[in-house]
């Protein structure tokens, strides 16, 4: 079995396809090499191919409000990018840039369609795979909504259900698909928010109780140096005496 065959067989997209179909697919893919900094795809370009990374790593980027680069994600061996472009021809929603020398398997839309014509069972398999994924994603979106509500109320208890990797980054207990990535991004966000919140609490604590003692004395002296005050003090004493006599 070729390296390409194994990659395809293990990728989330083509998992479960009969070997014969995978063999046919292997014939359609082109092995490509990208050098560090080279773009696999650019944001806004028409998408007409899918890539499965074989070796190396890439970053998925978009532009932030100030026009700077915003890294959405990193992907490595076995992961698929641009798979939606197999079905539609929408412009790419994000750019993908190689972080090092990267080898990827490219599957063009035309080649893919050709294969679908020859093997209708392949289409069915794809629909199954996509709908399973959709179901999976919506479960997690549902969870994310639930958790967001909890965070808004300051309840972080659900975080304890997930384990922390060695890097301290949260890793969700899911397959390495996009929903899982979203989830782990989500957890890292929560961690960040929580840390900032704790930090703020500390700031407020140390900010409390500052009394300017000089001003305190000055104001006290101003208030107590009047004739009214002296008379009041005397009177208060007398009243107190009177009242305690009555007891």
């Amino acid at each position: 079995m070729s390296q390409e065959f194994i990659r395809l067989k293990n990728s989330f997209l083509f998992k479960g396809l009969p070997d014969a179909v995978l063999e046919a697919l292997v014939q359609k893919v082109i092995r490509r090499t990208f050098y560090e900094g080279e773009a696999l795809m650019r944001r806004g370009e028409d998408g007409d191919a899918l890539y499965i990374i074989d070796q190396g790593s890439v970053k998925i980027v978009t532009v932030d409000k100030e026009g700077g680069e915003l890294v959405l994600n990193h992907c490595g061996p076995g992961e698929a990018i641009g798979e939606m472009s197999l079905f539609d021809k929408e412009p790419r929603s994000a750019g993908v840039i190689a972080l090092e020398e990267t080898h990827a398997l490219e599957l063009k839309q035309d080649a893919f369609f050709e294969l679908l014509n020859q093997r209708p069972d392949l289409a069915l398999n794809f629909i199954r795979s996509f709908s399973a994924r959709l179901r999976f994603s919506s479960t997690y979106i549902q969870k994310a909504i639930e958790w967001s509500k909890k965070i808004a109320e300051g309840d972080y208890s659900f975080m304890e259900q997930f384990h922390t990797g060695q890097t301290g980054q949260f890793k969700a207990d899911t397959d390495d698909d996009k929903a899982g990535q979203l989830l782990s991004a989500f957890f890292n966000m929560v961690k960040g928010v929580r840390a900032r919140e704790e930090n703020l609490k500390l700031q407020v604590e140390t900010l409390t109780l500052q009394i300017d003692e000089v001003r305190r004395r000055q104001e006290f002296e101003e208030l107590t140096s009047t004739d009214f005050y002296a008379a009041l003090k005397e009177k208060a004493q007398a009243i107190r005496q009177q009242r305690s006599d009555k007891k």
Binding site: K201, E205, T208, L209, Q210, D212, A236, K247
Partner: protein
């Protein structure tokens, strides 16, 4: 002999009137005989919490201060009319039959401006307090004050058995409260209690806040009452702690009431 409890804060808007009304109500609910005087003659407010308005208000503290009537004539028996407000103020309605008397100050513009213009005899105000306690046989007389340290406030502080100082957790209040504490000590007030109101929930460690405040002022912090939308929304229409007894604000308020009653 009844006790005089003054509720004061250095700055305005700390929640004195709401606290006074709720403390007085809580204490009255235990069966004690309680009076409440509004000495914030410049900007009266506590009458609203007890359901009095311009039409239902006859003679006031102002009439007494200018020698037009006896103090007992301006003591409104809240317990006698509270039941009528069952619908609009179900909290206050619970005071029906209790011995709670409100001595409001005038909300008529002309009478307020006279006070601002001419002032009044603070000695007479004090006589009024003493007479009230005796004539209607009060266990507690709560005094709602005007913020700051003007003459009538100094008098209320000087003659009180218990002074409750309210502060918000910010540095301006901390500073002003420090001066007020010094004044209270200089006037030999025997019981000084502190209360924090409008504390943003979860923003501070309450233990830490308590330690700092008690260390700085050397007086017990009797409650930390949270800033709350429900309170801002409802408080001035009804006695909040009676209407929403399970609310955090009410729970803390009851601690303060307990501290007042535990003070000898």
């Amino acid at each position: 002999m009844g006790k005089i409890v003054s509720i004061h804060s250095f700055r305005g808007g700390t929640g004195k009137s709401n606290t006074t009304a709720n403390l007085a109500s809580q204490v009255a609910m235990t069966g004690k005989r309680v009076g409440v005087v509004d000495t914030d003659i410049q900007s009266p407010g506590i009458h609203v919490l007890f359901g009095l308005d311009e039409t239902s208000m006859g003679k006031t503290l102002n009439d007494f201060l200018y020698g037009k009537c006896e103090i007992a004539e301006v003591a409104y028996p809240v317990g006698d009319y509270a039941a009528a407000a069952k619908e609009s103020a179900p909290g206050r309605a619970q005071l029906a039959g209790k011995d709670l008397f409100l001595i409001p100050s005038s909300i008529r513009g002309r009478e307020i401006s006279r006070v601002l213009r001419e002032g009044y005899d603070v000695g007479r105000l004090n006589e009024g307090f003493q007479t009230l306690i005796q004539n209607i046989n009060l266990d507690y007389l709560f005094i709602d004050t005007h913020p700051g340290l003007n003459e009538e406030t100094l008098l209320s502080i000087a003659i009180s058995d218990i002074l409750l100082l309210i502060l918000r957790p910010d540095n301006q209040d901390f500073q002003g409260t420090a001066v007020t504490v010094d004044i209270a000590r200089s006037l030999d007030v025997s019981n000084l209690l502190l209360m924090v109101n409008k504390a943003v929930p979860n923003k501070y460690t309450y233990e830490n806040l308590k330690t700092q405040i008690e260390t700085a002022y050397k007086a017990p912090l009797t409650g930390i009452l949270p800033l709350s939308f429900d309170m801002a929304d409802n408080a001035s229409k009804d006695i909040f702690s009676l209407r929403y007894p399970d609310h955090d604000w009410s729970k803390e308020l009851r601690k303060v009431a307990q501290a007042v009653m535990d003070t000898n």
